[in-house]
């Protein structure tokens, strides 16, 4: 009887110690991060979300473009020394492999694509930003026929792309600015209208669709099928070849609508919009831009990361997808 009591007391004590270790920050440990972007430049990125955000609390010690990067804790960081000793980042890692590495404990933080999210086991810890990545079709300036551009905008079945290819990740939108920033994105109709697209596309000449990111390849193929259904002969251009339409992606860099709008226009290579101080003015500017059909917004996607259970102190990303790893710590290994 006393033995049962003793055993129960020891177990209670151990549980109390473990709970205390899980909730209390600790110094030390290495955060293992994997990214699918190769970053093959000789220098690390200096701006944008991701590695550039680490400069507040960490300093880079190793940079092997296209392979890996190592950041060490900055003892003199403005906000104090981060808990983590270092961050090791594997570059050019396929999404599928990242998910496997997370499953097998070889990584602590990985990117999750739509398929990986679907396959993720129940209870998987994830960090997700707001929809900050805008996937859109951008016409080359030499495609002057506005009817063809509008026909393609009406032919694209965004809902199917979102529900199947993106596994309902993010949100369908025909607006450039995400709903959470502008508040009026829902006003732009996103539904496909194939019959009107067919009537507009009558006599359309063959077009080519360029896609630089292999992750968007399937979306491009689907758009090609949609276009063909509408009578627009749209074929996917060979990599590196110039194309009439480009399927591309840009990020929202600010939660300020006007700044984001201007930055997105610049990122998509569109003409600089007129300055608008009010929401009505911004809506009018975006409406004017989208009515030209030079750009066809498709979906707004969030940044989604799979996180190992041993990473504590999160979420480590902001609504804009910026990394904030200064407050993260790694759970101490169990004895």
């Amino acid at each position: 009887m006393w033995l049962r009591y003793l055993a129960g007391s020891i177990a209670a004590l151990m549980l109390a110690r473990c709970a205390g270790a899980a909730t209390r920050p600790r110094y030390g440990g290495i955060l293992r991060v994997e990214l699918h972007a190769p970053f093959e430049s000789s220098d690390p990125p200096q701006s944008g979300p991701g590695m550039a955000d680490l400069s507040h609390s960490f300093s880079m010690t190793v940079w092997e473009g296209g392979r890996r990067a190592v950041f060490a804790a900055d003892e003199n960081a403005a906000g104090g020394r981060p808990f983590l000793d270092s961050i090791e980042i594997q570059l050019a890692r396929p999404l599928r492999d990242q998910a496997l590495d997370l499953e097998t404990g070889r990584a602590d933080l990985v990117e999750l694509g739509p398929n990986e999210i679907r396959r993720a086991p129940a209870g998987r810890k994830t960090w997700s930003s707001q929809p900050v990545r805008i996937v859109a079709l951008v016409f080359s300036p030499h495609v002057e026929d506005a009817r063809i551009r509008e026909a393609l905008a009406l032919a694209v079945d965004r809902a199917t792309i979102w529900s199947v290819l993106l596994q309902r990740q993010g949100e369908v939108s025909a607006a450039l600015l995400p709903q959470w920033i502008s508040g009026y994105a829902f006003v732009f109709p996103a539904a496909a209208d194939l019959s009107r697209a067919r009537s507009l596309a009558a006599g359309a000449r063959p077009l080519t669709l360029g896609v630089t990111d292999p992750a968007l390849r399937t979306i491009a193929e689907r758009i090609s099928l949609n276009a063909r259904d509408a009578g627009i002969p749209l074929t996917i251009a060979a990599p590196g070849a110039s194309a009439d339409v480009q399927l591309t992606e840009a990020r929202v860099s600010s939660s300020d609508a006007a700044r984001s709008f201007a930055a997105l226009c610049a990122a998509f290579g569109l003409s600089e919009p007129s300055h608008a101080d009010t929401q009505e003015g911004l809506y009018a500017a975006e409406r004017a831009l989208l009515d030209e059909h030079r750009i066809i917004p498709l979906v707004h996607l969030p940044d989604v990361y799979g996180v190992s259970p041993r990473v504590k102190g999160g979420p480590g990303i902001t609504p804009l997808g910026e990394w904030r790893f200064g407050d993260l710590w790694i759970e101490a290994p169990r004895p």
Binding site: R118, T160, V164, Q167, T218, A220, E221, L225, I236
Partner: protein
């Protein structure tokens, strides 16, 4: 061409023709035999290929049915929302080594497509439509050929369809292998055989649709024939050692549309090399045979023509005057009999000639005797009369004897001189001197002769005409003897024209020498007279010894010339002498 050459040519032609015929027959029969073997081999290979093709179809059907029966697909079939499975076909296809795989919902919409992931939601009506008379149902076929649209174009695939069920929910699994270069390379084919596939996916012949071959142009007629007739065909493509026997098999899809033409090419290299080897061997043996035949023909013709040659040689000798020539041939065949007859003939000719010579000699002696008797009788009679007159005068008229004696003595001397002249002429003919050759101008001799006989001709009322070629070249001759020839011929002409006439002397070039012609307008000669004209002691005249023309012929003969006479009774005669 000699008899032997002709015979050799005939033998050679016969040998070459025979050897060529035998060679052709052997080559043709061998080629036909090898062609038959090659056809059997090709048929066996094509059957083997068909078996391999069917086996691959069964493998595809087995793989597809395996996928349909897998837990993964059954779970998909049980799901109510298919949107999360749109990438599953790719992993299933990779796991079962299939190029193409589609999971199709019961309503025909694509749940997941390995070959074209973006095509989810699109309909595959051919799977769900009901079979009718015009279209074969995939359920009755294991694997079948199908035209598949892909993002980068169109392809042909060997496909099968399986059904996965989960309770009352059904999904279809359509999968297969692309019929491409990789597919062809995995087929187990015997050495010397290759498979090609023409994908009949365009309305007209498109060379780029040929898979597994480098040059479609030579195959085009065969492919177009199969496409047109929709049945198997075969043909030989290429030439020489690169030639191939190509069997073209039509490949039809579910709707019996001709989707492809499978070309099974079997190399004819071995056959061609065998034929070339046989040809070389044939040429070597034929050449050896022809060479041997020619040698044997040479030997045989030599053997056959040798007695004929001897016969010809002997005949040439006989023609040259050697009548005693004979042929020594021991055989008893036709040539031997011919030689025997030849020998008998020459023997008889010799005997006949001897008899002729003997008879001619007798005749000549007789003629000589007759002529001598005739010539001698004329002077002898006055001699006898004179002697008798002298004896009668001495006995009966002694007082007149001296005068009679004187007259008688002169008569006797005159007649004796006449006798002496006769004997001298005969003596001259007997001892004709050899000609003393020197350069002689025949025209000069002719003119001298005319001049010599001018009074006599004038007296005989004979007109003289000379037709002498001023450009006549000098000849080598004895001028004395030729002058005598001219004199004799002129005297003969004078004798032939007792009532006058015309004498023509002509000279002219003739062949490589000159011709002298002495023509009269006398009474002419009969053919018989012409034949005997040059016989010694023969004369048509009442006087003369008959030696004149014999001497002429003798001189001409000594000068290696030729004399002939052209005459017709009543129209005169013409003597022609050809000298070189």
């Amino acid at each position: 061409m000699t008899f032997r050459t002709r015979l050799l040519f005939i033998f050679t032609v016969a040998v070459v023709a025979s050897v060529g015929l035998v060679e052709w027959l052997v080559s043709a029969s061998t080629r036909e035999r090898f062609e038959r073997l090659e056809t059997q081999r090709s048929d066996a290979l094509v059957a083997q290929f068909r078996g391999e093709y069917e086996r691959r179809g069964q493998e595809v059907a087995r793989a597809v049915n395996g996928i349909a029966a897998s837990d993964t697909v059954v779970n998909i079939a049980a799901a109510t929302d298919y949107s999360s499975f749109y990438t599953d076909a790719s992993s299933l296809a990779a796991a079962h080594s299939l190029d193409l795989l589609e999971l199709v919902a019961a309503d025909g919409s694509i749940i997941s497509s390995a070959e074209w992931p973006a095509r989810f939601g699109y309909k595959e009506d051919w799977i769900t439509r009901r079979s009718d008379a015009a279209s074969a149902d995939w359920k009755t076929r294991g694997a079948f050929l199908r035209r598949e649209e892909l993002p980068d174009g169109v392809t042909l695939a060997l496909e099968a369809v399986g059904i996965a069920t989960a309770g009352d929910r059904v999904i279809y699994v359509a999968g297969g292998e692309r019929l491409d270069r990789a597919f062809l390379s995995t087929l187990a084919l015997p050495t010397g055989m290759r498979a090609m596939l023409y994908r009949n996916l365009q309305p007209q012949f498109t060379p780029s649709e040929l898979i597994g071959g480098t040059d479609a142009a030579p195959l085009r007629p065969l492919i177009e024939r199969v496409v047109r007739e929709k049945r198997e065909a075969s043909g030989i493509v290429g030439a020489g050692a690169a030639a191939e026997t190509v069997h073209a098999l039509p490949l039809t899809g579910l709707d019996d549309n001709l989707l492809g033409v499978l070309l099974v090419a079997s190399s004819r290299r071995e056959l061609v090399e065998m034929e070339a080897f046989l040809l070389r061997l044939g040429i070597i043996f034929a050449s050896a045979g022809i060479l041997l035949g020619i040698v044997l023909a040479w030997w045989a013709t030599a053997r056959i023509t040798r007695p004929v040659k001897r016969l010809a040689e002997s005949a040439r000798k006989v023609a040259a005057g050697n009548w005693s020539a004979t042929v020594e041939i021991a055989t008893k065949d036709e040539i031997g009999q011919l030689a025997l007859a030849f020998n008998r003939m020459t023997h008889e000719l010799v005997e006949q000639r001897e008899r002729l010579v003997q008879s001619e000699r007798v005749a000549a002696w007789r003629e000589l005797a007759r002529r001598l008797a005739h010539e001698l009788k004329n002077p002898l009679f006055p001699l006898q009369i004179t002697v008798e007159n002298m004896r009668r005068a001495r006995e009966q008229y002694p007082e007149q004897f001296d005068e009679v004696f004187r007259e008688g003595a002169s008569t006797l001397l005159a007649e004796l001189a006449n006798l002496k002249q006769i004997i001298s002429r005969f003596s001259d003919f007997a001892k004709m001197p050899a000609p003393a050759m020197q350069q002689v101008q025949l025209n000069d001799l002719a003119l001298e002769t005319v001049k010599l006989f001018a009074p006599q001709l004038s007296q005989a009322n004979i007109a003289v005409r000379t037709e002498l070629d001023p450009h006549l070249r000098p000849i080598m001759a004895d001028p004395e003897q030729l002058a005598r020839v001219l004199r004799n011929l002129t005297l003969n002409a004078i004798d032939a024209m007792p009532h006058g006439g015309a004498l023509t002397i002509r000279t002219m070039p003739h062949e490589s020498g000159v011709r002298l012609e002495v023509a009269d307008t006398g009474q002419g000669l009969t053919p018989e007279e012409c034949e005997r004209l040059f016989t010694p002691y023969y004369t048509t005249k009442t006087h003369g010894t008959g030696l004149g023309l014999a001497i002429v012929q003798s001189v001409v003969s000594d000068h290696h010339g030729r004399i002939s006479v052209v005459s017709e009774p009543g129209k005169g005669s013409s003597f022609r002498i050809d000298l070189s």
